[in-house]
């Protein structure tokens, strides 16, 4: 975007380093304790081992929970992206009270406390006799992250040049083609950013999930339930692996999706 003077660059990097320390510090602490034991108020430096990781591999329940979290996340985000874009287009295309009301409705599940969203959905599902399962979890997550997707896409839509779209329609493209070839490329960054935020929110979502799930668990639910007895070392191993996996995935994504 712009070239920065060296002292300013340095100052910014210092702030960045500080924030990175804040963000990763807690995580590295957890990872550290996946390798070392903590006994008698002291780190046992001679206890380095991978047993926590071995135990993790054996812990089928955690692996199932992690899998469920991913599946739910991917599906919910995909749904939210499609529906959120649809709603943003709908809103952007016109005026009227109906659209303002729709906007409030879309934001509601995100704005009210998660226990309210979760409980209201649970009661609703019970009343219409909709079996609780990972499907209800997906629905819960979708309505929860919809607001984020909608907002990001709408914000981006509002900056798209109207003449560009008009020109496209004038030249004979129908609505779908205009969307596909003109609007969508412009929305890409917004969709990507929204998708990442939405996935992050879904990945961590505990309470709504807990309330509307049937018999399946997700990772946040699992971790939440460990509060009473404390975390077992394999949880720290899990943190390490998830961090490594996520970083790797993102690095690959930036390598193949961006130009050097």
């Amino acid at each position: 975007m712009m070239r920065l003077a060296l002292p300013i660059q340095a100052a910014l990097w210092i702030v960045a380093a500080f924030v990175l320390l804040l963000l990763y510090g807690p995580l590295f602490l957890a990872i550290f304790f996946s390798f070392f034991a903590f006994r008698s108020n002291r780190v046992q430096w001679d206890s380095f081992s991978f047993t926590a990781y071995a135990r993790l591999m054996d812990n089928q329940r955690i692996i199932d929970a992690l899998t469920n979290t991913f599946v739910v996340g991917v599906i919910a985000v995909a749904l939210a992206l499609v529906i959120g874009t649809l709603l943003a287009l709908y809103h952007h295309a016109g005026r009227g009270r109906g659209r303002d009301l729709l906007q409030v409705v879309i934001y509601l599940p995100f704005l009210v406390p998660p226990i309210v969203t979760g409980l209201s959905l649970l009661i609703f599902f019970r009343q219409i006799d909709f079996e609780r399962s990972l499907v209800t979890v997906v629905i819960g997550h979708t309505v929860f992250v919809l607001a984020v997707v909608y907002r990001n896409v709408l914000a981006r839509l509002q900056t798209v040049s109207r003449t560009l779209v008009e020109a496209s329609l004038d030249l004979g493209a129908n609505r779908w083609q205009t969307f596909r070839y003109v609007l969508l490329p412009q929305l890409m960054t917004a969709l990507l950013a929204a998708g990442i935020l939405a996935f992050a929110l879904s990945f961590d979502e505990t309470l709504i999930t807990l309330l509307v799930t049937g018999t399946k668990s997700t990772l946040p639910m699992w971790l939440w339930s460990m509060m009473r007895l404390g975390f077992t070392p394999d949880v720290n191993a899990l943190v390490a692996l998830v961090l490594a996996g996520t970083t790797l995935l993102c690095l690959l994504a930036t390598r193949y999706l961006t130009k050097p």
């Binding site: 975007m1 712009m2 660059q9 100052a11 910014l12 702030v15 960045a16 924030v19 804040l22 990763y24 807690p26 995580l27 957890a30 649809l86 709908y90 295309a93 729709l102 409705v105 879309i106 509601l108 704005l111 009210v112 998660p114 226990i115 309210v116 969203t117 209201s120 959905l121 009661i123 609703f124 629905i139 309505v143 907002r151 990001n152 839509l157 509002q158 798209v160 040049s161 003449t163 008009e166 329609l169 004979g172 493209a173 609505r175 950013a193 961590d204 946040p220 971790l223 509060m227 998830v242 961090l243 996520t246 970083t247 690095l251 930036t254 390598r255 999706l257 961006t258 130009k259 050097p260």
Partner: protein
């Protein structure tokens, strides 16, 4: 002559409907089916369940069951009973502080990211986004053990001789809640600001430089105003996430770090007063909606087309 002429996708013959439609702003939406599709999910899975639930705020509880008699008791109780209003206000203030910290820390980082070139930009950005995908329960636990009297921070400071006695003001109070929330939510602030900065057309900056403006002036008069939308969105997102949270206050707040989120949560548990909880949730919506409206206002205008 060849057979039928194949028109490339963008140049097929127009028909009457397109001519009428094309004249409208962005692309008309006359299709009733599409309207219905747009409204389907929000109505079925948001409007109906939430409305049915929030309406409970106008009923009251007797024993364990809800008595369906309209009443404003829950709302008046919020103002009359001690403890609710002050906690509500302190929670809103907490939210504002967290949002402020997140934005103050987030802006320089977003700015730095926007100034990077090519692949480096996205790689570094990614490092700030990855922690979002890590479980926040783990993070809170770790932060709690770091901030504690016997925790990593104090131990290091004592070891280095910076302090003589452990700092106990960092844990089990509102400060701890504020710091923890800020750490957790900073990435949520970075992303929208980054997106907003990215959108500033380069030619505007070049024009400003060409006109003789020094970098600081360009920043203050061009970049900052145009990125304000991102700042407001980041701040409002952080604010909303901060005031509704009850996990962080429960884990690091101790007795003093009591927030409105915990009050609401307890109505659905031990308190067993769902109507009251519903009413309090509606009340909490007010500052939240205000934040959203502020963000939207910041979003309108700005871009000439």
């Amino acid at each position: 002559m060849e057979g039928r002429v194949q028109h490339p996708p963008l140049l097929r013959p127009m028909d009457q409907r397109d001519i009428a439609d094309g004249r409208r702003a962005v692309g008309a939406w006359p299709d009733a089916l599409l309207t219905a599709t747009a409204w389907a999910l929000p109505t079925a899975f948001i409007l109906v369940p939430l409305l049915l639930f929030l309406i409970l705020g106008f009923f009251e509880i007797q024993g364990t069951e809800i008595v369906y008699r309209l009443t404003l008791k829950n709302y008046t109780r919020f103002f009359t009973d001690a403890g609710f209003l002050p906690t509500f206000i302190s929670t809103c203030l907490l939210g504002l502080k967290v949002a402020a910290i997140a934005v103050v820390l987030g802006y320089p980082i977003a700015y730095l990211l926007a100034s990077l070139r090519g692949r480096a930009k996205y790689t570094v950005a990614m490092f700030f986004a990855v922690p979002l995908l890590m479980s926040y329960i783990i993070k809170i636990y770790a932060i709690r053990s770091i901030l504690g009297g016997n925790g990593f921070l104090n131990r290091s400071l004592l070891y280095l001789g910076v302090i003589d006695e452990p700092w106990t003001f960092l844990i089990f109070n509102l400060n701890a809640v504020m710091l923890t929330l800020a750490i957790l939510l900073v990435p949520f602030a970075i992303l929208p600001i980054f997106v907003a900065l990215e959108r500033i057309p380069r030619n505007l900056l070049e024009a400003s430089a060409d006109l003789g403006a020094r970098p600081l002036l360009t920043f203050l008069t061009v970049i900052l105003p145009l990125s304000l939308q991102g700042v407001v969105i980041g701040a409002s997102l952080t604010f909303v996430l901060a005031i509704g949270d009850y996990v962080t206050p429960q884990m690091v707040g101790g007795i003093e770090g009591f927030t409105f989120g915990r009050i609401i949560y307890s109505q659905f548990g031990f308190g067993n007063n769902w109507p009251f909880g519903a009413a309090l949730s509606v009340i909490l919506l007010i500052p939240v909606l205000m934040a959203i409206v502020a963000a939207d206002r910041a979003g309108r205008a700005r871009y000439a087309t």
